[in-house]
């Protein structure tokens, strides 16, 4: 019995907890991508850099707060600074839309043109971020490091395996749940949200019904920018902030959005967790789990790992390809926003 519990705790510690946190970050990122796709109808390659920008502003605000001696008790100070990051990111999204994207919307440009434009934005944002904060790693998590320490868990339960939950992981999951609930409430209950859904569903019909397209587009950028800032900050809190990792995040984020069905918010969230857990489950070394679950003292010889951890990112891509080949519309097809 204890063996089974030990095996479960082992899985929980190395797969469930990190998977929930990483899945939440991906889900928030994919939600932003999917919103832009649903309303503005293009794949925004610059979303990773937008996340990076939001995280950067939050870090700067965090430093300022820390400098003033303000902290958030056991929670990371970055949570207090997050609104600043959100406002700045929303601001830059709106400015970029006004200066850059609006022209192509009026020209009714095709999706590839938008894609190339977003590559231009990607360059601008990544240059801006590196120029302001530099390319170095930044660790800005403070407060209590753990919600649950492995040692404490062992003492409490008397098991051999410990379960550690970092504060940043807890914060990530809770924030993601709150944000997702807010987004769904907004889309399904408010008038503005409904007009957004109508616009995404059928642009001409929405225009005929008197929906103001400029307003819908602006609100989409507000939501996408806010989501990017939150996702970027949470990722940076959890894994440390490095400007160049955010470009690499674009791939799993797109994989999440496409797996769930691009344009579908529920799909984006489900996709985020599918990608996160596949990455972890396929690269987890099952050696000790099997040792616990089999009777006697037998321990498998190798690591019993399906893929080396180095190939973590490749997993998200393989999922992407499979989905594109088998069911290009994603898991929740036929429904947008």
């Amino acid at each position: 019995m204890t063996d089974i519990l030990n095996a479960l705790v082992l899985l929980g510690n190395f797969v469930l907890v990190p998977g929930l946190a990483y899945g939440s970050q991906l889900a928030l990122g994919a939600l932003g991508v999917t919103m832009i796709y649903a309303v503005l109808r293009f794949s925004n390659f610059a979303h990773g850099e937008t996340m990076s920008f939001g995280a950067m502003i939050t870090i700067l605000a965090t430093w300022w707060l820390q400098d003033k001696g303000v902290t958030f008790g056991v929670l990371p100070t970055a949570l207090l600074a997050l609104p600043v990051g959100i406002i700045a990111t929303v601001g830059i999204c709106l400015v970029l839309d006004r200066v850059v994207y609006r022209y192509y919307r009026r020209e009714k440009a095709n999706p590839v043109t938008y894609l190339i434009v977003s590559v231009g934005i990607l360059f601008v944002l990544s240059g801006l971020v590196r120029f302001i904060i530099g390319p170095q790693d930044r660790v800005f998590a403070d407060g209590e490091r753990f919600i649950m320490k492995a040692r404490v868990f062992k003492q409490m339960t008397g098991l051999d395996q410990g379960l550690a939950i970092k504060t940043t992981q807890g914060v990530t999951v809770v924030t993601a749940v709150v944000i997702v609930a807010l987004i769904f409430w907004f889309l399904n209950r408010t008038r503005t949200g409904k007009s957004m859904r109508a616009y995404s569903d059928n642009e001409d019909l929405a225009l005929l019904s008197g929906i103001n397209p400029a307003r819908v587009v602006a609100i989409t950028w507000v939501i996408a920018g806010a989501l990017a800032a939150i996702a970027g900050t949470l990722y940076g809190l959890d894994k440390g902030y490095k400007p160049f990792t955010y470009l690499g995040l674009v791939l799993p984020i797109f994989a999440s959005a496409i797996v769930g069905g691009v344009g579908n918010p529920l799909g984006a969230i489900a996709g985020g967790f599918v990608v996160a857990f596949s990455e972890l489950l396929l690269t987890f070394a099952y050696k000790r789990v099997i040792a616990y679950l089999t009777p006697g003292d037998w321990i498998p010889e190798g690591l019993v790992q399906l893929l080396s951890t180095d190939y973590k990112l490749a997993v998200s891509f393989v999922i992407l390809v499979i989905v594109l080949l088998v069911k290009p519309t994603g898991m929740f097809s036929g429904k947008t926003l």
């Binding site: 794949s43 360059f123 990544s126 240059g127 120029f131 160049f244 470009l247 490749a314 594109l324 290009p328």
Partner: protein, 437 residues
């Protein structure tokens, strides 16, 4: 002003800029930039074949360039006999097993009875069990190969052939990969194709970083043989010393200039050949057909053109050119560093070159490759000078000034973005627009 005159003027300005760098900084710097301009131009031609001729968005340029780099290692590096002795046969057997299992998977998908779904699962099962078998064969070999003098070799080495052959091999590697990728990803919507190729290029880089037995992974392979003489040897020869005396030049600097000029000569030959072939293809019935497909797929396919097959063709061709350029780049560097392949530099920057130069125009691609590479390198000193000028009013040790100067190098990313956005907005057809037919 006629188009020809305009083009000549644009290239003349470019040449003048390079000469200016030669005078202000040094001839060596100018030639170093010039060589990379040539390689960038070839890479841009490759992307232009895919984008300009056929409208395919390939965001995996980096992966094909890296495969070219791998070819440079595998062709030119001398073989490591110890590694071949301990695990060579087994490793080859493993590679063959992997190839056969994928092949069997494809056969299974084609030949199995039943619905698409059942065949898909069957094929996946066949391929996966083959891969597992491959790992049983390959893994022990990898372990012993990587244990052979890991500080110096730890990999199988290459064929020990002249490195120039690797340029062809690089093209072939990239073409082969492009064929496989194209089979999977072409036919997807344009933006999905971009995401898919972006992902595949990342996977290629991960593969090269982690498979140490193949090309040492992140430990890099350096000391690749050169197609041109070494500076040290040149300095010993009489004619170089005499020439240096005649021109009143430093012998060391002169030898380095001669080496760079030899590289430039080789690269120019390749660039001219690739350019000539691309132009011929563009003007041929094949080129007209590709443009017809690009401009209206439905109409072209109604005229009986096999759109998917033609897309695959052009994707493979363009990728081969990128692979060729990738092999040339590694040849010039003399070192293969998988970690240096970054999407910003190897995929998106090449895209900026294509767009700024003028998509669909080969001359434009060359000019784009030159211009963008020039400013990519020179944006750093220019940006630094600009920031020093702008902040000269501040105190010598003002924190803001120091920070700005320290990070000045990153302005080039933003500059490239702004250039791309401006060109897209105000001159979407680029510096040298596609010719109207």
């Amino acid at each position: 002003m006629s188009t020809n005159l305009r083009n000549i003027l644009l290239f003349a300005i470019m040449g003048a800029l390079l000469i200016a760098v030669g005078v202000i900084q040094s001839a060596n710097v100018a030639l170093a930039i010039f060589n990379l301009c040539l390689i960038s131009a070839i890479m841009t031609l490759g992307v232009n074949i895919q984008w300009g001729y056929a409208g395919l968005f390939n965001a995996g340029v980096m992966g094909f360039a890296a495969l070219g780099g791998l070819a440079a290692v595998l062709v030119s590096f001398p073989p490591v006999p110890e590694a071949w002795a301990v695990g060579g046969f087994r490793a080859m057997l493993g590679v063959v097993t992997g190839a056969i299992s994928i092949f069997l998977g494809i056969i299974a998908f084609r030949k199995f009875p039943g619905s698409r779904r059942i065949r898909g699962w069957g094929a996946a099962g066949v391929a996966l069990s083959g891969i597992v078998l491959m790992r049983f064969v390959l893994d022990p070999a990898v372990e012993v190969i990587e244990a052979v003098e890991p500080a110096r070799t730890g990999f199988l080495g290459g064929l020990g052939l002249p490195i120039v052959f690797s340029w062809i091999a690089g093209g072939a590697f990239a073409a082969l990969a492009a064929w496989g990728i194209g089979k999977i990803a072409l036919g997807l919507r344009s933006d999905y194709l971009a995401i898919a190729t972006l992902g595949i290029s990342e996977i290629i880089i991960y593969f090269l970083k982690n498979e140490d037995w193949l090309a040492r992974g992140v430990k890099n392979v350096n000391g690749l043989p050169r197609p041109v003489p070494y500076e040290i040897e040149l300095q010993k020869t009489l004619w170089v010393q005499e020439l240096a005396a005649q021109l009143d030049f430093n012998v060391i600097e002169l030898s380095s200039i001669i080496v760079k000029l030899s590289y430039a000569g080789l690269f120019i030959v390749v660039l001219v050949i690739v350019f000539w072939l691309s132009e011929r293809a563009l003007k041929s019935p094949w080129g007209r057909m590709m443009r017809a497909i690009r401009d209206n797929e439905v109409a072209a396919s109604a005229m009986g053109k096999d759109v998917t097959w033609r897309h695959l063709q052009v994707f493979v061709l363009g990728s081969a050119v990128i692979g060729l350029a990738g092999a040339m780049l590694t040849t010039l560097d003399g070192i293969f560093t998988p970690a240096s392949y970054q999407p910003l530099r190897f995929t998106f920057l090449i895209w900026v070159m294509v767009i700024v130069g003028g998509s669909g125009n080969n001359l434009g691609s060359i000019l784009g490759g030159f211009t963008i590479w020039f400013f990519w390198i020179e944006a750093e000193p220019i940006g630094l000078a600009l920031i020093e000028l702008l902040t000269s009013g501040m105190g010598e040790d003002s924190a803001l000034r120091l920070h700005l100067i320290e990070n000045a190098a990153h302005t080039r990313l933003a500059t490239m973005g702004v250039v791309l956005l401006l060109v897209l907005r105000f001159s979407p057809r680029g510096l040298i627009p596609e010719r109207e037919k």
